[in-house]
């Protein structure tokens, strides 16, 4: 199989955004591009697909101006025959056209019927339910993020179906196509992608920071197994590079973790939340089985890792925000140590007794959880019982997670990559000596090696007798780490 190699440099306003000297794409293959978020994966893909604006960005490919690259035959073919599924689906959809119209727009009109793709991507929906979704405009009757992602995936598969026997040059890019999908839908999407690859010689670039895709891709698609390549974009000492990622690296680690996970020793409860709290007009039920048959109180025990699972939109984040006193419930009863917290507990009490003292929480989106106008040093200022007495202790703690440049502490948070922000977001809470740390999607945007470091820190915390509660869509990883006794399932009823 041929490899296409690119030398890509992108800058804006004199600031270098991406510089990589040997980015490779294997033709007629599925290249899974891994790496932490914000490192430049999307920008590289857009550059290759010819989607950057040379007036806005200073782009050079193979040391030639981008305008020359845009005129190359292969670039013209990519733009004519290929497809790009954007990470943020809203940016792809026209708010003034119904989804149905957009599915039939331009070259997609020539495609055979799209019923099969839509039926698979909306597996549990009836035909009329799907029709209803297609009759809405992206705004103001906005479909959910997951629905938009599925529409874009359907468009891409439709486009593939227009190609009789696509030339190997035809590039299809899927940028975080499963970010808003639950495991079932994610697998359905991967099945469709594998079937399309089996029938056609297309080149696919799948960008993701979700390492749990690896297991599915390596185990389930034997027909295209030899055509799947895993690459990881890494930043080392300020330099961007591509390294071949061996799936075994992840899979064997996962197996080891699975083997090391033991049934928990019953210790005293740190937090107990009675099942059936009401919030936003819904009653939330905790159960110890996926079908919601065995209703139980939600309990986090000392020194344990607890995992709260539910389909997207059920209210996992609402539950933990309620536990933290950030969302006011209509009814709740939670015991934390000797104290009981209810819907009547005043905010002052949470502030004095709970926040940063008994419990803390890592928010889901590091971008929003950190003050973008602060410097790295400031993220750790004002914490109670902080171990960072001076820059040296702070640098030492950070060095476990970062390649520290001399001016790192002075860097504004807004100039860090998404993955770096997530590391800061985690580290801020991990340094606190609270009984419980709640982590909402802790592995979001991290590369594999950092994710392993984070999980090691969690383990050390557990060994010190502190507890961790996790919400995560990385089910494969946390199912391996958390004993089934500590897994809770959440359902909601009106």
């Amino acid at each position: 199989m041929n490899e296409r190699r690119y030398n890509i440099h992108i800058a804006a306003g004199g600031r270098e955004l991406v510089a990589i000297d040997d980015f490779r794409l294997t033709e007629s293959s599925l290249t899974v591009l891994l790496g932490e978020s914000g490192i430049g994966k999307s920008l590289i893909a857009r550059a290759i697909a010819g989607l950057l604006d040379p007036d806005e960005l200073d782009v050079q490919i193979d040391s030639r101006p981008y305008t020359e690259y845009l005129k190359r035959q292969e670039t013209l073919e990519i733009r004519r025959d290929g497809f790009f599924v954007f990470q943020e689906p809203s940016s792809h959809l026209n708010p003034l056209m119904k989804l149905r119209e957009q599915l039939d727009e331009g070259s997609l009109a020539a495609a055979p019927d799209d019923k099969q793709f839509l039926g698979r991507l909306w597996r549990d929906a009836t035909e009329s339910q799907i029709r209803n979704i297609l009759e809405v405009y992206p705004k103001p009757y906005r479909p959910s993020g997951g629905e938009k992602q599925r529409i874009l995936a359907a468009m891409a598969f439709k486009k593939i179906s227009t190609l009789d026997d696509a030339a190997p040059g035809t590039l299809f890019v899927f940028d975080e196509p499963t970010g808003n999908l639950d495991d079932k839908l994610r697998n359905e999407f991967l099945d469709l992608l594998a079937e399309n690859m089996k029938n056609r010689r297309i080149t696919v670039l799948l960008i993701t920071h979700d390492y749990s895709l690896i297991g599915r891709l390596t185990r389930s698609y034997q027909a295209i197994a030899k055509r799947i390549v895993f690459e990881e974009l890494v930043l080392h000492r300020g330099k961007l590079g591509l390294r071949r990622f061996e799936p075994e690296e992840y899979l064997s680690w996962l197996e080891e973790r699975r083997a090391a996970t033991r049934a928990p020793v019953k210790r005293e409860s740190v937090v107990t939340l009675k099942s059936g709290p009401r919030v936003f007009g819904r009653t939330l039920i905790f159960s110890s089985d996926p079908n919601g048959q065995r209703q139980v109180p939600f309990e986090v025990r000392r020194g344990s890792l607890t995992y709260l699972k539910a389909p997207s939109g059920t209210g996992k984040t609402t539950v933990v925000k309620m536990m933290m006193g950030l969302v006011k419930p209509e009814h709740m009863s939670m015991s934390l140590g000797d104290a009981t917290y209810t819907e009547h507990t005043p905010r002052r009490t949470w502030q004095k007794q709970v926040w940063g003292r008994r419990m803390t929480m890592v928010f889901q989106h590091a971008d929003e959880a950190l003050n973008q106008n602060a410097k790295v040093r400031d993220v750790f200022a004002g914490l109670p019982s902080s171990r960072f007495h001076n820059d040296d202790t702070l640098r030492q703690a950070l060095s476990e997670f970062f390649d520290l440049e001399s001016d790192f502490l002075e860097k504004p948070v807004k100039h860090l990559s998404g993955g770096q922000k997530q590391r800061l977001n985690l580290l801020r809470c991990l340094t606190l000596e609270t009984d419980l740390v709640i982590m909402d999607e802790p592995l979001n945007g991290l590369d594999f090696s950092t994710a392993v470091k984070v999980l090691k820190q969690i383990e050390e915390r557990l060994q010190a007798g502190r507890s961790v509660l996790v919400i995560s869509h990385n089910e494969e990883i946390f199912d391996a780490l958390v004993p089934s006794e500590n897994v809770y399932y959440l359902t909601a009823s009106v």
Partner: protein, 302 residues
């Protein structure tokens, strides 16, 4: 890429780049125009205005500038404290205290600013008559404090609006959950780190408002506030200088142009005191208005 930038840098003179940058940054451009205009006026007056009059204009300008600056500092301090205090009271459990504080601030808001300043001048007159205040600086400080009381609620409103906006973002809750104190989050993270440009814009605008209020009130009180205290007892400011008889005559001389256009060159050498003061006031207000607008555009302040 580096080569390309270097080439661009060498092909464009540095001076041109600086001027282009200045033209793009309208606030900096108008600041330059303001300073340039005042400098030109000063140089002109050095040649054509008699020394005592020039000294008076310089003193009046300096005093007005000092008062405006003090107003800005005092208003920002008062507004910051009031805004944060109202926010804390609103979210806290002493709702009664909040309603009283809220009522009092709204009461102050309902009084026209010029009336508040006038009351301050009346109080100053009493203090001067009783010889409680002597030094010019203390008088200016009193005037500045009075104007600050009239305008500080604008800062308080900005402070509250910024806090309310950031309350909706995750980073505030994320910091609270880490045990970081609310006062640190509000004062440092929200107001200092995320609202400096908003507050600076407000400060520029307040400087303009204070200049306008000072001149207006000086003109109003030029008729006299009491039998013992008159305008001549107050420190010299641009407004009070303009309100003097000789300055007014200079301004009235402009009307000569209607009957005798050839009088124009004479205006710029013979009636300089009044015209210079009027120019200083109008030109300053115009420039501050444009500096504030340019700053808003450059920093995309909503």
């Amino acid at each position: 890429m580096t080569d390309k930038r270097d080439n661009m840098a060498t092909s464009t003179p540095v001076g041109n780049q600086w001027l282009r940058g200045l033209y793009r940054r309208k606030d900096a451009l108008w600041l330059a125009i303001w300073l340039g205009g005042l400098l030109t006026l000063w140089v002109w007056n050095m040649f054509f205005l008699n020394t005592p009059a020039l000294w008076r204009i310089q003193k009046a300008f300096f005093n007005s500038l000092l008062t405006g600056s003090m107003v800005v500092v005092l208003a920002v301090g008062l507004g910051w404290i009031t805004g944060v205090m109202l926010h804390m009271l609103e979210r806290g459990e002493w709702k009664g205290v909040y309603f009283v504080a809220s009522f009092l601030t709204n009461l102050l808001r309902s009084i026209p600013q010029i009336i508040v300043v006038l009351i301050g001048y009346i109080a100053l007159t009493i203090l001067l008559a009783r010889e409680v205040i002597h030094s010019s600086f203390m008088q200016l400080l009193w005037i500045a404090s009075t104007i600050a009381v009239a305008v500080f609620l604008e800062v308080a409103d900005t402070v509250r609006a910024r806090i309310e906006y950031f309350r909706t973002l995750d980073f505030v809750d994320a910091m609270l959950c880490c045990g970081i104190s609310e006062s640190r989050i509000i004062n440092i993270e929200i107001l200092w780190r995320n609202s400096r440009s908003h507050l600076l814009h407000k400060m520029i605008a307040l400087f303009g408002v204070s200049t306008f209020l000072q001149c207006s009130i000086d003109f109003i009180i030029s008729v006299g506030l009491s039998t013992d205290v008159s305008l001549s007892n107050f420190p010299l400011t641009l407004g009070s200088l303009l309100a003097r008889l000789d300055s007014k005559q200079d301004i009235l001389a402009v009307s000569n142009l209607f009957s005798d256009p050839g009088y124009l060159p004479v205006l710029f050498v013979r009636h300089l005191q009044g015209l210079s003061v009027a120019f200083c006031i109008v030109f300053t207000l115009l420039c501050i208005y444009n500096i504030a607008n340019g700053y808003v555009r450059r920093h995309r302040i909503a």
